[in-house]
Assembly symmetry: C2
Homo-oligomer: 334 residues x 2
């Protein structure tokens, strides 16, 4: 009886698919938040071509590596990177532990809460804040602090945790690739230790598949003789621009077959991917939707998109137009 029912269900489904019944097709669409168009088609074509056993573009499962920039590619980066918000909001705690910093710049400006003055901080000032808030504690202390912040901090525009502001269509691309044997990596200019705190929960990407800007650690022992790793202000990898292919070599040791980015910092990663033999997919998210998210490109101080865009157009890489290509932006969008 059960078996007979199963056979009937199969036949019904087949008839429905052949007849173009939307409910039957929806079941098999791996990218439901994408509008039909060249971007969606390019992604699906790439996955199908590289996983078709015996096909001319088949990629062996072990070599299926896909890399994703994070800020602006997988989640919101405007008006400021979430990790920089973390660092700025950590300053009071740092000053509490070292009161002498209260009268020293740039800490004094951050403590003042004057947003205009903070926006004028120089790159050197920002680096001092990053060093003071991201180093000088053990890896486990850092992890606990960052975790606590992520649970309570809210994005100023959507009043939601930063970890909810991921792009639903990109989450679908990652799942679709994984379902087809791809290992998905995050390759971010952000701090490797920071992104690892939430990447598994938010993106299904385990810590060992997060490549980011990384500092050195120093192995030592606490008073009870228990070993710990101290985060040091010593840069090992600046995982941005040329640092992205360098980081991919260091941490993965394979050239990606697919890479997604959104800004100038991703150009070299996409070039490096494109320079491999066989089928390669290069995708750039273009932020064109000021209503549902943000619209910015050539003139934005955060996530500037200029040369990478020109190169994408020239070389036929896939440019994702957020407004045109995405049915919804966030998981919570209706």
């Amino acid at each position: 009886m059960k078996r007979l029912y199963g056979r009937w269900a199969q036949i019904l489904l087949l008839v429905a698919v052949l007849a173009g019944a939307p409910w039957a097709l929806a079941q098999t669409d791996p990218l439901p938040s994408w509008n039909d168009g060249p971007a969606k088609k390019a992604i699906v074509d790439f996955v199908q071509a590289t996983t078709m056993q015996g096909g001319p573009q088949f990629v062996p499962p072990a070599e299926r590596v896909a890399t994703f920039d994070q800020d602006g590619t997988l989640w919101v980066e405007q008006p400021m990177y979430s990790e920089v918000m973390y660092c700025l909001e950590r300053v009071p705690a740092v000053v509490k532990a070292k009161p002498e910093l209260a009268e020293v710049e740039p800490f004094k400006t951050v403590l003042s809460g004057n947003r205009e003055a903070m926006a004028r901080l120089s790159k050197q000032d920002l680096e001092k804040i990053l060093v003071a808030t991201l180093t000088g504690m053990s890896t486990e202390e850092f992890r606990a602090e960052a975790k606590k912040w992520l649970e309570t901090a809210r994005d100023p525009r959507w009043k939601r945790p930063y970890t909810e502001l991921t792009y639903q269509p990109m989450q679908e691309v990652m799942k679709y690739l994984r379902a087809n044997g791809y290992k998905t990596y995050i390759v971010t200019g952000g701090g490797q230790d920071f992104v690892r705190v939430y990447a598994e929960e938010v993106y299904g990407v385990p810590p060992e598949q997060v490549v980011g800007t990384a500092g050195g650690t120093k192995y030592g022992y606490d008073k009870s003789g228990k070993p710990f790793l101290m985060k040091e202000p010593r840069l090992l990898l600046n995982d941005d621009k040329a640092g992205k292919p360098e980081g991919i070599h260091l941490m993965i040791g394979r050239r990606p077959h697919a890479a997604f980015g959104n800004s100038a910092g991703d150009k070299e990663m996409l070039e490096w991917t494109a320079a491999g033999s066989g089928a390669r997919f290069m995708g750039l998210v273009h932020h064109t939707d000021a209503v549902r998210e943000w619209a910015y490109d050539r003139k934005s101080p955060v996530g500037r998109l200029d040369k990478a865009w020109d190169e994408a157009v020239r070389r036929g890489w896939t440019v994702v137009d957020m407004k045109r290509d995405w049915k919804k932006v966030f998981p919570f969008d209706r």
Copy 2:
């Protein structure tokens, strides 16, 4: 008919196992090259305890990380590390490309072929040779050179390719762990790029699971505009001693549940593993078999085992006595 046969086979196997038939037991022994004893028992107990759903020591699959030192733990390291042999044997090619080096030390000594003089080279001399032979070329050129060498070079004692001199019992441990959901990593003082050339073929460990001593690379373009990564003489990670837990944090971002080593360079990795909560396995291979392999510990310049051994004994880590615990050493042993 087929189903009936299957049922009968199951019953026969069950009867045989209960009766202690050796052919039936052999089928289920994951470590056939290990003699029964405390080391084998400790490994099997650990795997069973950490994979028993609902058990008090259960480790979720995502956290099952096992790290293995390479030289002296997975393959032969005497009388000299294979990679150092590679570097020494590359010197003539380096001098051919830069003839001015022929009269400069330490290259002059290496070219002379005088083994006694070569054995007296200082650490600084050796570093010059490593820099000259492991850097200054693209990652792809290096890979091709190392691959070619590995195919033709022979170990002086066994007259076999170095890649055949892996320990069969340790290969079985890696396979056994993988069959139980563990990700196996190599964490080696050797060069990450060097070990990645053969780790997948030799150990079933993909490049992204090889952590080793790593230098920086520099992204650039060749005359045709194609990007490449140049290997630079800039040390990012000295993956030895304290560098091993530091490297594990950098490249994996999770604390291992099991770690295997054989020398002073592995002490910190084992300590770091032991300091985690829940079930942890720490193993040290002790080279006690001069007939089948080599015998060395406290006084050996290569693979010295002193403090790590004392700590293993003091803390009850598993010490593998090669002579006592291993039925065979190499895959080609009878």
